[in-house]
């Protein structure tokens, strides 16, 4: 099997290398005129750190169709219960990153609490579960105030499908996770040693306007996305 695969791989490499060489020859006498701009931020940045980030985030997120619920460390679980009840959700996938500022115990506590409230929480991330769950509750890697974006990444214990497959997605964002602008988020990524295989910048519920320009949500991804925004 391995031998089978390595041969096409070697020939793919050779084809690529030959093309790059040919391109180099073609461009040899061509004088490059455009230099790579170094100073981007000045032009691109829309939101700065001194702005009121939770307010900016809330405005931007609301305008793209996310529902933002301001919360405190003591009432965020109540809020999640309310949201789930509103959508008649019963089976709920809970996927909280142990590295998130919510703390290591948050997932267990939330699970216990949801069970006590009559929901059926699970931390299973297999296809069967993800495709049939009524809702998913996830932590986020970051959130961007400029656009009202939440960022979910893959990683150990973090399924890509959690924020994608169930019809309702509840994301827990700590205000300390807010970055002002897209620039800040991508700078952060550039400084990171290795990137997760999959990063999703989520800006609103899944939507389409393909049918006569009418806006419809919930095409492939969740129809409802809630953000529980926890300030210390």
């Amino acid at each position: 099997m391995n031998a089978d695969r390595s041969e096409p791989r070697a020939s793919a490499r050779a084809a690529m290398a030959a093309f790059i060489d040919a391109l180099r020859r073609r461009l040899r006498d061509f004088e490059s005129r455009a230099s790579l701009p170094q100073e981007l931020e000045q032009t691109v940045r829309q939101v700065v750190a001194s702005d009121d980030l939770p307010t900016r985030f809330t405005q931007a997120a609301t305008s793209v169709g996310l529902e933002v619920h301001p919360a405190s460390p003591t009432d965020w679980m109540d809020l999640i219960g309310d949201i789930l009840r509103k959508h008649d959700a019963h089976s709920v996938v809970v996927q909280l990153d142990t590295d998130s500022p919510l703390g290591k115990r948050a997932a267990t506590e939330l699970g216990n609490r949801l069970t006590a409230d009559g929901f059926a929480p699970t931390t299973a991330l297999d296809d069967e579960t993800l495709f049939s769950a009524d809702a998913a509750i996830t932590s986020v890697a970051a959130a961007i105030a400029e656009t009202g974006t939440i960022v979910c990444t893959s990683g150990p214990g973090l399924a890509r499908g959690a924020s994608l497959l169930p019809p309702v997605h509840v994301a827990i964002v700590q205000t300390s996770q807010l970055v002002p602008d897209q620039c800040d988020y991508f700078d952060q990524l550039a400084g990171q040693a290795g990137l997760p295989a999959n990063i999703n910048l989520i800006t609103g519920p899944s939507k389409t306007a393909d049918i006569e320009g009418i806006l419809v949500t919930g095409v492939h991804g969740p129809r409802h996305v809630h953000v529980v925004l926890v300030s210390p």
């Binding site: 790059i20 461009l27 790579l36 214990g157 890509r160 897209q182 939507k207 389409t208 320009g213 991804g221």
Partner: protein, 466 residues
């Protein structure tokens, strides 16, 4: 083949369909307004466009370097890179990948590049059922139609047509409610997603420094197709590269605004390699297919800047010609102003010599283009290159025009003649006239020349003042 008569016939058919013309007008108009409004949120839209153009231009001029870096990084992250010199090779590579995995069912996210190489036909011929998962492209597929816009492919269809197509394909109850229709498609495609074993996506930007693929969708078809199947094939033109991760905000802030007036597409997905060992889900293999298909030929020539295009579709929405004839009349995969450039350049000047002429050269496309491609200027240059394909009479007329414009006396004389020759239709416009003049004014609004020319007025006023 786009012979002048075939092209003319398609245009005539298109403008005769009032329903489609109205639908396209409305949708493009709406998007233009949304675009204008969202661009105002940027601090300095002009400067960002300039930056975007410069970054892309730089990348193109140093493409071997960035390609090398990109390939190395994709491989480092565990992905496999393939190079396809032309459409045929790209189709073969992707069919081979499908065959190696015994694929029977593949899903596809929206990708113009895959349309360019007519990938679906090849996969179907190889026995792989390939399902489009962008709602618009899905409707196009089940209705055996063709997309008419690069961002919103069924801009030309009304909901009755969409409903009938869905009923036929899924056996659902007939409904004209957009939400219900979407829900029907969602359920149908969910089942496909669960069963498929290969996912094909396009790529909006490939980041050289990290080997990251950036895929933008609103519905989530890009996410689904790169999450569920065991194998992810990403097809990208070699011009899609940007050097650094921090270049992405420059383009992301422009792309969705230019397309639909959104600040950002709903899902901006960054893929760096296949699933890691500890990841609970995701594709086990990632194949990146880099497509040339004529692009590298353009790099050193006068048309290089068309490769900056990020396929936002703004130039289509802005174009008075596109708005009136819709996408199908162009008879090419890429319609609108950018299509009128790219199609002849990539697929042959002679076959598509009419396309560069399908423009009023009003310049609206250039004003909205996020990467500042001089579309009208390049269209004129393409016209020059294809002038031999024009009818003799027209070429002679243009010669004559040139000769006339070169001398003030000749110009004045012709002006005087025309003001006598052009018939006054009493509604302020002139139509008809002798010989070729009649053909010319038949479809062009020409105001009636005033009885006194500007030069004459100028001379008289000047002498009055003295």
């Amino acid at each position: 083949m786009s012979t002048p008569t075939a092209f003319r016939q398609r245009v005539c058919e298109a403008v005769a369909d009032e329903r489609v013309v109205r639908a396209v007008h409305l949708a493009t108009w709406h998007k233009m307004e949304a675009r204008a409004e969202s661009m105002r949120q940027l601090r300095d839209p002009e400067a960002i466009r300039e930056l975007a153009a410069q970054i892309k231009q730089h990348t193109l001029e140093n493409l071997p370097h960035y390609l090398e870096q990109f390939v190395a990084q994709v491989e480092r992250s565990g992905g496999c890179v393939h190079f396809a010199a032309d459409a045929d090779t790209a189709r073969r590579i992707i069919c081979d990948i499908a065959a190696a995995h015994g694929t029977k069912l593949a899903v596809k996210a929206k990708s113009m590049t895959s349309e360019e190489i007519h990938l679906n036909d090849a996969l179907e011929a190889a026995g792989v059922r390939t399902v489009e998962t962008d709602l618009g492209e899905f409707i196009v597929q089940i209705d055996h139609d063709r997309p008419s816009h690069i961002v919103t492919p069924i801009i030309h269809k009304d909901r009755q047509q969409i409903a009938r197509a869905l009923v036929r394909e899924t056996g659902c109850e007939y409904t004209e409610d957009a939400e219900e229709l979407t829900a029907i498609a969602r359920r149908y495609l969910r089942d496909i997603f669960r069963r498929c074993d290969l996912g094909i996506t396009g790529v909006n930007f490939g980041v050289a420094e990290s080997g990251t693929l950036c895929i933008c969708t609103n519905e989530g078809n890009g996410r689904m197709s790169s999450t569920r199947p065991r194998v992810h094939v990403a097809l990208m033109g070699i011009e899609k590269l940007v050097p650094r991760l921090r270049d992405l905000p420059v383009f992301l802030k422009l792309l969705a605004r230019s397309s639909t007036g959104q600040p950002l597409t709903v899902y901006t997905t960054l893929v760096t390699g296949p699933k890691r060992v500890d990841d609970p889900d995701g594709p086990e293999e990632l194949h990146v297919v880099l497509l040339d298909n004529g692009r590298s030929e353009l790099l050193t020539g006068e048309f290089a800047e068309v490769l900056r295009c990020i396929r936002c579709g703004a130039c289509l929405n802005a174009c008075p010609v596109y708005r009136n004839i819709g996408g199908h009349a162009y008879g090419s995969v890429y319609p609108g102003p950018i299509g009128s450039l790219v199609t002849p350049l990539l697929q042959g000047l002679d076959e598509h010599a009419e396309l560069p002429r399908a423009s009023s050269l009003c310049g609206a496309c250039q004003v909205v283009c996020p990467v500042k491609i001089d579309i009208p200027g390049l269209l004129v240059r393409l016209r020059v290159r294809t002038r031999r394909s024009q009818p003799l009479l027209k070429r002679a007329a243009i010669r004559l025009w040139k000769w006339m414009m070169k001398s003030p006396t000749r110009y004045a004389w012709v002006q005087w003649c025309l003001s006598r020759l052009l018939p006054d239709c009493r509604d302020g416009w002139s139509r008809g006239g002798p010989g070729p003049l009649g053909a010319w004014t038949h479809c062009r609004d020409l105001p009636i020349p005033p009885k006194q020319s500007f030069r004459k007025l100028w001379r008289e006023r000047l002498s009055d003042e003295r």
